[in-house]
């Protein structure tokens, strides 16, 4: 079975480490916050200028001046700080964020990522995604392995305009966890009940399959 969105978030959360500063993109990455292991302390950065994002506000306590990068009302946790957009992107560009999780339309074997623009469709903008992929050392891309029509999103070369070049090393799809190295995807883990053959058939870019590909475990 392909992973659910929640399982994808759960799997990504295992990459967290105590004391990490983490930026989570919109969509599946946002769900990762729900699965931070107990006893582990991480600070979530929101690029509109908040480090130490807390839970959503209680009913009736939302504050228009307190939002996250998805424009949702949020709270600040104890230990949080709030600053300007320039300061926020100094943290991001300067490599101070320990882990960035974001979605994509396509990734390729060179570590290129396309996530913001589909030619012919309306272009709404890249927001902070280009800064995030250029600045972070440690990025995990979350996406479905193939489109609804079965077209692979893990390619030899991205077909869409790029968000960043040569910056992606790790991808979690609904079928597999892969790393990118030396011009190839390396299959590291597969979703429970998903065969290596299915992953091979849905990966258009060069894929290295080790002898043993463990199945992800979920409680």
């Amino acid at each position: 079975m392909a992973l659910t969105r929640e399982q994808m978030a759960q799997r990504v959360a295992r990459e967290m480490q105590d004391g990490f500063y983490v930026n989570l993109g919109i969509g599946i990455p946002t769900l990762v916050a729900n699965y931070i292991p107990e006893g582990m302390e991480v600070m979530l950065q929101s690029e509109n200028g908040l480090l130490g994002m807390g839970a959503f506000p209680r009913v009736g306590e939302a504050d228009a001046d307190m939002i996250n990068a998805g424009k949702q009302t949020v709270t600040a946790r104890i230990g949080a700080s709030i600053f300007s957009s320039a300061e926020s992107f100094a943290m991001i560009r300067g490599g101070h964020i320990d882990l960035t999780v974001l979605g994509a339309f396509e990734v390729d074997v060179q570590g290129n990522i396309a996530s913001w623009m589909i030619p012919g469709k309306l272009v709404k903008g890249m927001g902070g995604a280009m800064d995030l992929v250029a600045g972070a050392e440690n990025i995990i891309v979350t996406m479905t392995h193939a489109s609804k029509d079965g077209e692979s999103k893990l390619l030899s070369r991205c077909s869409l305009p790029l968000t960043g070049a040569g910056c992606i090393k790790r991808v979690l799809t609904d079928l597999a966890y892969l790393e990118i190295d030396n011009g190839a995807f390396i299959l590291k883990e597969r979703a429970p009940g998903v065969s290596v053959e299915e992953i091979v058939s849905k990966t258009a870019g060069k894929l290295i399959v080790p002898e043993h590909v463990p199945e992800m475990q979920f409680a």
Partner: protein, 232 residues
């Protein structure tokens, strides 16, 4: 106005000198921390052919979106413009030009503009359409893009509290682009929720020092929430 008293009595006075064809830099992220009354005054005055520099362009009927109704904006420099049906329509019909700019680059363009730095190098956008036509240069083995800074004829800013000297503090994440915009306007106008007595603001807590600010006005704000999200 006398000495360092930067208070003005009306929104009309706050935007005196704003003319057709000018560049206006606006603070705000989504609808958070936007100078909503100054935007409404631009609409009321019917000033046209504006270049607007802002992270977003409001929504239909609120924020910078109100300037789209009478086609007062001819160009937008922004990182994300997706919340606005009228904007999409004008973009597709070619009535409005948009220059999409990565959010961090946009923030730095304003910061640099206000700080007298004409251009800077960033890795953001290298190898993407953002790099088209721009100079690149290698530093320590990595390629960087040259981005030019931005200044505006006017900057419009939303603060929380100010004193008459023009010292401003922002509230929570309504800070966002506001302090950057404040530095980058030839004329910087700040509207706030409260103008406090001199000496009331702690000098160590000032976000925008008064030197950047030309005019201060106190307003009332709707502060619309774009995505109300609560926990049960």
């Amino acid at each position: 106005m006398a000495g360092f008293d930067k208070r003005v009595a009306s929104y009309e006075e706050a935007l005196a000198g704003l003319k057709d064809g000018m560049t206006v830099i606006s603070g705000g992220f989504g609808l958070c921390g936007i100078p909503e009354n100054l935007i409404n005054e631009i609409k009321r005055q019917g000033i046209r052919d504006l270049t607007v520099v802002s992270n977003n362009c409001g929504v239909d009927g609120f924020g910078l979106g109100v300037l789209l109704q009478d086609r007062q904006i001819s160009k937008v420099i922004a990182s994300y413009v997706g919340e606005n049906a009228l904007f999409e329509k004008q973009l597709l019909s070619g009535e409005i030009e948009v220059e999409l700019t990565p959010q961090g680059t946009l923030a730095e363009k304003m910061r640099a503009g206000g700080a007298g730095i004409p251009a800077f190098f960033t890795a953001t956008g290298v190898g993407t359409p953002v790099a088209d036509g721009k100079e690149t240069r290698e530093f320590k083995g990595r390629t960087y893009l040259m981005e030019e800074s931005i200044t505006g004829d006017f900057a419009i800013v939303k603060g929380w509290k100010a004193d008459h000297f023009g010292n401003v503090i922002y509230r929570h994440t309504a800070q966002n682009f506001n302090p950057l915009a404040a530095t980058a306007g030839r004329i910087t106008v700040v509207e706030v929720e409260e103008i406090v007595e001199p000496g009331e603001l702690d000098p160590t807590q000032i976000h925008t020092p008064g030197i950047y600010v030309d005019r201060i006005i106190c307003g009332t704000f709707e502060k619309r929430i774009e995505q109300l999200t609560e926990r049960n």
